[in-house]
């Protein structure tokens, strides 16, 4: 049966220390397909593909490529067999230029010399052919995430990928960018590239793929043709139960002003006449969720850091419940009732090596009851953590497990639980569901809604437009450090998308 498939996996098993990532995977991908791989966090999607790409090696099981048994799977071998992969976490070196990243691992025409110009020509040819424009001479750390992804795709194509694997490619893109990507993928597919598309966004999967396989707990539970299925069925297959993806939103009961920003700006200290944040003002009232939509790297990060007291704006003021907190330290803000759910949970929200319990007291550890006199109160802290784990349904055997051993969804739950269980007056949320699966997303969204309904004031910054539209009472769109438009859930996706892309300014409409 292997003949008909371009790639097929047979009884693949893969374990990591203490984890069975893949118990017994059987899967076939046909030539010329766009084959979607759907699954919850930790289902094993990335692991399976990493095995194919040779980054990991299976404990047991076989892979067949074009009917041939494919052994000794190393990345080099994969590249030679025309397998290209865009990883969930980009495989780029920040302080190398785009060009250098593309050359990496290539063999030069005149070894050992690094023939940059030769490679530049070659790469430009490819980018012409597939219509992917990137600036080869910028450092990767200087280009936007969207651009970095283009670099990744170009890299794969340049290395002659016949089979292209994309691991959650859209999580960082605007709707427009996603649509462009899909177009690009369709073209590639026409030109004969087989594509494996990993995601847990149902509508995307429905849109792009023609075959869909669902992974759960390290096994393929089903493979269906797109025509014969529905989002509802897919989500059930994925989570193993029914998920109500939509629910009605009660209109907000707006109270007094809680948070205000008066025309703050932040000058880029690397480039004095560039502003990372430019004349931003906003006013947020008790009991509403204000969403900031926008493509990544348009100043949201800097704005958030200013609000959290990690940076001082070059000009302008920030006010929390009337107090001027423009120059307040982060700790002062926290004590004034600011809570913050950062975008990057692994690096900003959690200390990966610490236990769950230790992570639950990151901001409050020095306060009663966690500290009495000189010393921390382990018993108190553990009980607190146990309660929190129970209430926010963090899936873990015990609170002494290091958070690095939790799945993304559960890590996020720890943060949310921590931030919600403080006495909060104003909540700043960034990318609350980044990389989470439907189950977790639904959970997080409900938590945010119920908080808002019980009078919490929330500012949510997210690059996931769906999310912003679904939760926000008001929407602000940010582009190149500026607020370019106001909107609400009635505004059309297209309009908001165009604002995010900078091609539409609201004042232009008025």
């Amino acid at each position: 049966m292997t003949e008909e498939f371009y790639v097929s996996f047979h009884n693949i098993r893969k374990t990591f220390p203490g984890v069975i990532a893949l118990s017994d995977v059987n899967l076939g991908v046909k030539q010329g397909q766009i084959h979607a791989l759907l699954g919850e966090n930790g289902a094993g999607k990335s692991t399976l593909m990493n095995i194919l790409y040779g980054l990991y090696h299976q404990d047991s099981g076989e892979i067949f490529l074009c009917g041939q048994k494919y052994e000794d799977n190393t990345p080099r071998n994969a590249i030679e067999h025309g397998i290209g992969m865009i990883h969930q976490h980009f495989m780029l070196i920040p302080n190398f230029t785009v060009l250098e990243n593309l050359i990496l691992g290539q063999t030069s025409p005149k070894p050992p010399k690094l023939e940059k110009d030769y490679f530049r020509k070659e790469i430009l040819k490819v980018s012409e052919k597939f219509g992917i424009k990137v600036d080869l001479d910028l450092l990767v750390e200087e280009v936007s995430v969207g651009m970095q992804q283009k670099v990744e795709i170009l890299k794969a194509l340049y290395k002659g990928a016949k089979l292209l694997i994309l691991d959650e490619p859209t999580s960082v893109l605007t709707p427009q960018e996603s649509q462009e990507l899909f177009k690009m993928l369709h073209d590639l597919n026409k030109k004969g590239t087989t594509i494996i598309f990993i995601s847990h966004k149902l509508n995307e999967v429905m849109q792009i793929s023609n075959t869909i396989s669902i992974l759960r707990d390290g096994e393929v539970v089903a493979t269906v043709a797109k025509g014969e299925t529905s989002p509802k069925e897919l989500s059930r297959l994925m989570v193993g139960r029914d998920v109500n993806v939509k629910y009605e939103k009660t209109s907000a009961t707006i109270g007094e002003e809680v948070f205000r920003i008066d025309s703050i700006s932040l000058r880029d200290h690397h480039n004095k006449d560039r502003f990372l944040v430019k004349d931003v003002s906003m006013q947020i009232f008790k009991g509403e969720i204000v969403g900031i939509a926008g493509v990544d790297e348009n100043g949201q990060k800097e704005l958030a850091e200013i609000i959290c007291g990690l940076r001082e704006p070059t000009s302008g003021g920030v006010y929390l419940c009337g107090d001027d907190v423009t120059r307040a330290t982060t700790r002062q803000l926290i004590e004034l009732g600011l809570s913050f759910i950062p975008a990057d949970r692994r690096n900003q929200g959690l200390v990966m090596d610490f236990s769950i319990a230790e992570n639950t007291i990151l901001e409050t550890h020095y306060q009663k009851p966690f500290t009495r006199g000189f010393s921390l109160q382990p018993a108190v802290i553990n009980n607190f953590a146990k309660k929190l784990v129970k209430e926010y349904d963090v899936r873990t055997p015990s609170v002494s497990v290091p958070v690095k051993n939790l799945s993304g969804g559960n890590q996020q739950k720890v943060i949310i639980g921590r931030e919600f269980s403080k006495n909060t007056r104003f909540l700043l949320v960034m990318q609350p569901t980044w990389g989470l699966d439907v189950g977790a997303i639904e959970y997080v969204h409900q938590r945010l809604m119920s908080a808002r309904n019980s009078g919490m004031t929330i500012l949510m910054i997210s690059t996931d437009l769906e999310e912003v539209r679904k939760l926000s009472d008001r929407i602000l769109v940010m582009y190149e450090g500026e607020i370019v438009g106001q909107a609400d859930s009635t505004t059309s996706i297209e309009d908001i998308g165009m604002m995010m892309a900078g091609s539409l300014r609201q004042d232009a409409r008025l």
């Binding site: 926290i334 913050f340 900003q348 090596d353 000189f374």
Partner: protein, 369 residues
């Protein structure tokens, strides 16, 4: 997602039982592995000794007898253990706080100078007070010396590895200058500092041996340090800064403040080590005051895996090697260089054997619980 603890997928339940045992007694097992590594190193050493025409068993007999087989040797070993323990604590706490302090050696010297100034030149104090003040002086001086590197790191971002290393050389020459000039004992014709007064000397706690009250101080401090690290807010903050600086910032932890505290502790510990060595063992400052305790401390901390029990055991090992090898030359006439060879082998083997411990930890308690 499958939240199962992984038991190796071989039906062999004897193996399973072993893994279960291992997961319960990891500490014990890691010690066991280290001991085996030491034996292996000693075995190779034995071959070399035999080649040198000496009876290895006799030689090792002296190693044991010299280091803790006799009352005096026992006291001597524990005396060497004291500064090693301080030095390793100093390195460990810096490491936990994300600071790479290889400067314990210099901080030991400077700390000792601090203790000397109070111990030798401040007169007619009651012993308790005099000792306390001298110890404090040691802490302060050590902290200040480490502080130089710290301030340079915090405010100029200079690399602390270099600065602490350079400060070692500077400290040693500085001390040499001091005992040649300002602090030279006028009574003496050679270059040594004046001795500290009797009221500043630490009492002997094991009669007929050099073992002094510094041992108690060292052990108490060890407990305090790990209490500080794991049971106090400031310790929590130090570990957070060490483990994830970004998260610490977002949590509103005052990075500069915490780093300063970490520095004061790391420097203070080494300085205290110097003070205790001076007040308990040597009494006056000489050019070769510390025979590399500061550097050994690094090995001790890593070998002890930065946990109190481990560090104490590793420090004892290093002390035994220091004292026992001396006995090997005295008793069996093992050539001096061979002793270094054996020391080197022991260190390399014990550290290398850590591989097994890590593997075992991974496959049993590690991963997602």
């Amino acid at each position: 997602m499958s939240e199962i603890t992984l038991t190796p997928n071989t039906g062999n339940n004897l193996k399973d039982r072993f893994f279960q045992f291992a997961s319960k007694h990891m500490g014990f097992i890691s010690v066991l592995i280290s001991v085996l590594a030491i034996l292996l190193a000693l075995l190779i050493g034995a071959i070399l000794i035999a080649i040198a025409g000496i009876n290895p068993w006799e030689a090792y007999g002296y190693l044991l007898k010299g280091s803790f087989g006799s009352r005096y040797g026992f006291g001597e070993t524990l005396t060497r253990f004291i500064p090693l323990l301080f030095a390793s604590l100093s390195f460990a706490i810096a490491h936990k706080s994300g600071f790479f302090n290889v400067g314990a050696e210099g901080q030991i010297y400077i700390g000792a100078i601090g203790a000397l100034l109070v111990g030798a030149y401040v007169t007619n104090l009651p012993p308790i007070l005099h000792i306390t003040l001298s110890l404090l002086a040691g802490i302060v001086f050590g902290a200040l010396w480490a502080g130089i590197a710290g301030v340079l790191k915090i405010f100029l971002g200079s690399n602390e590895l270099i600065n602490t290393m350079m400060l070692n050389y500077v400290a040693i020459f500085l001390v040499e200058y001091l005992i040649h000039g300002p602090l030279k004992d006028p009574q003496l014709f050679i270059y040594q500092s004046s001795p500290i007064l009797d009221s500043a000397k630490l009492p002997i706690i094991l009669p007929k041996t050099p073992l002094h009250a510094g041992l108690i101080i060292a052990l108490v401090v060890t407990v305090l340090i790990f209490y500080l690290l794991y049971r106090t807010p400031i310790g929590y903050q130090m570990r957070t800064v060490g483990a994830n600086l970004r998260a610490a910032k977002y949590a509103g932890i005052n990075i500069v403040g915490v780093t300063l505290v970490a520095l004061i502790t790391t420097g203070g510990l080494a300085g205290l080590g110097g003070a205790v060595e001076l007040m308990g063992a040597q009494f006056r400052m000489v050019a070769g005051f510390s025979p590399g305790y500061g550097y050994d401390g690094i090995g001790v901390a890593v070998m002890g895996r930065y946990n109190p029990v481990g560090i104490v055991l590793a420090a004892i090992l290093f002390a035994i090697i220091r004292v026992g090898t001396g006995a090997m030359q005295r008793g069996a006439g093992v050539p001096f260089p061979l002793l270094s060879v054996i020391q080197g082998l022991i260190i390399i083997f014990v550290i290398a054997s850590g591989y097994l411990t890590n593997k075992l930890t991974e496959t049993t308690v590690g991963g997602r619980a």
